[in-house]
């Protein structure tokens, strides 16, 4: 029998090949960080985004249908006509309730928009990061709608994150809880500056705080505007724990984000990178 090294070591050769390819891809991206998303990402998102958008817009209908089904499961069927009427009314009520909630959220977004001087773009969240290692969301607006890279993303409660990848009709937003995200911040009562970085868990960490600074649990943390990405004065979160070591150069604090990043549905994107302050109005 003829000796064929490739067929004998086929498994190993293919593995080495794909590992090499992965390394090359990684080094290429780390070396040349791109303004816009890379070609494979663009291609995949172009295919996937319409489906995600369609599901997002029909989710209200399905959730009302599901809730209606669960609610009605144990009701006796005494009067069929009446039951159908109740069913229809409930379904309508669910729709109206969902519409009311959406209206309230959009109204809050609109109010926030009026208080921000740089032009802003409202967007809907259409997807979440599939990986647990990263924290990002996908929004339904891209460079066609005027979204730029490295711009701040807000919602009525505070800072959400920053735009990191811009595609034609969609954009990727890196959340403030992502371990690779860093935002210049200051503690509101003491005006001490630091950097808020994401953590593996649901919290953020406020780093590089001077040892002699007075930081208390419950203090508000705002953007400092020094990073040039987000305007000054946007609420980030509240201090939930302070870590002060005697021999360390700096003290650290754990920050609980003000925005519920898990259930966020609509956001406001600042159209151009800006560090000028904004008047934040508390709800």
């Amino acid at each position: 029998m003829k000796f064929n090294p490739f067929s004998r070591y086929r498994g190993l050769s293919v593995l080495i090949l794909v590992l090499l390819l992965s390394f090359l891809l990684l080094t290429h991206q780390v070396r040349f960080s791109q303004e816009r998303a890379s070609l494979p990402k663009k291609l995949v998102m172009t295919i996937v985004a319409p489906f995600l958008r369609a599901i997002q817009s029909s989710s209200a209908f399905f959730s009302s249908l599901w809730t209606g089904y669960v609610d009605l499961r144990y009701v006796r069927q005494q009067n069929r006509t009446l039951q159908e009427e109740v069913n229809r009314l409930r379904s309508e009520e669910m729709f109206l309730l969902e519409a009311k909630r959406e209206n309230e959220r959009l109204y809050q977004i609109l109010q926030l928009r009026e208080h921000i001087s740089p032009p802003t773009i409202a967007a809907r969240v259409i997807g979440k990061d599939p990986s647990n290692w990263f924290r990002s969301i996908l929004i339904d607006k891209g460079f066609k709608e005027g979204i730029n890279n490295n711009t701040a993303v807000l919602c009525p409660q505070g800072l959400v994150g920053r735009v990191t990848e811009v595609m034609e009709r969609t954009s990727r937003v890196q959340l403030i809880t992502d371990p690779d995200c860093a935002v210049g911040a200051l503690v509101q009562p003491s005006r001490v500056g630091g950097v808020v970085v994401g953590e593996v868990g649901p919290f953020c960490k406020l780093k590089f705080l001077p040892q002699d600074a007075e930081i208390q649990v419950g203090d508000s943390v705002l953007t400092s505007g020094l990073s040039g990405l987000s305007p000054k004065g946007i609420p980030i979160g509240t201090v939930s724990a302070v870590y002060k070591k005697e021999n360390a150069l700096f003290q650290e604090a754990e920050v609980l984000p003000r925005v519920d990043l898990f259930s966020i549905e609509e956001v406001l994107v600042i159209a151009k990178p800006s560090s000028s302050g904004i008047q934040w109005r508390e709800e």
């Binding site: 593995l15 990684l26 780390v30 599901i55 997807g127 990986s131 290692w133 990191t164």
Partner: protein, 165 residues
């Protein structure tokens, strides 16, 4: 089955994986950690194929997950191709039709994939703390994937049985 039909089916399955992972599984997340459906499919398909195909399946699905994530391309492709290749290599010596074995297999694959991902991230991006990553991410993710994987294994098994009939 015709090649066109196979391609359409593969596209639909991939689309379903993407939609379930991005839209449905976040609702079942505990402490922000959700099961990894991509990893389940890498394991499931690699156990049915030889190591070269396992590596390619892992690379392909990993690349797809990277494309949908904020992560640089190659992080998951690297870890999944290793998992796929390893499972393809050891599959003949494994008895994996038992639910407990399936659970353990998925858990081990999750741990291996998690450590490779951690190494790749620490090497190429901002380093993540080892302890936090292990206890707050790798372990919970592996457990969730293993438990949810059982359900998927069961569904696929039933589907295969019905198809055989």
């Amino acid at each position: 089955m015709k090649i066109e039909m196979k391609l359409v089916l593969a596209f639909l399955v991939l689309l379903a994986i993407v939609i379930i992972q991005m839209k449905l599984l976040p609702y079942f997340a505990i402490g922000n950690i959700k099961p990894d459906l991509f990893l389940f499919f890498v394991c499931y398909l690699s156990l049915r194929n030889e190591e070269a195909r396992g590596a390619l399946i892992g690379f392909g699905l990993g690349l797809l997950e990277d494309s949908l994530s904020i992560s640089p391309l190659g992080v998951k492709a690297l870890s999944f191709s290793l998992v796929g290749s390893l499972l393809g290599f050891v599959r003949k010596g494994l008895f994996w039709s038992n639910p407990l074995a399936q659970c353990l297999l998925l858990f081990s694959a999750g741990i291996l994939s998690g450590f490779v991902t951690l190494l790749a991230l620490n090497f190429f991006l901002i380093p993540r703390p080892m302890g936090d990553s292990l206890f707050r991410l790798i372990l919970p993710e592996s457990i969730f994937t293993a438990l949810w994987g059982l359900l998927f294994f069961f569904v696929f098994q039933r589907w295969k049985e019905r198809k055989a009939r």
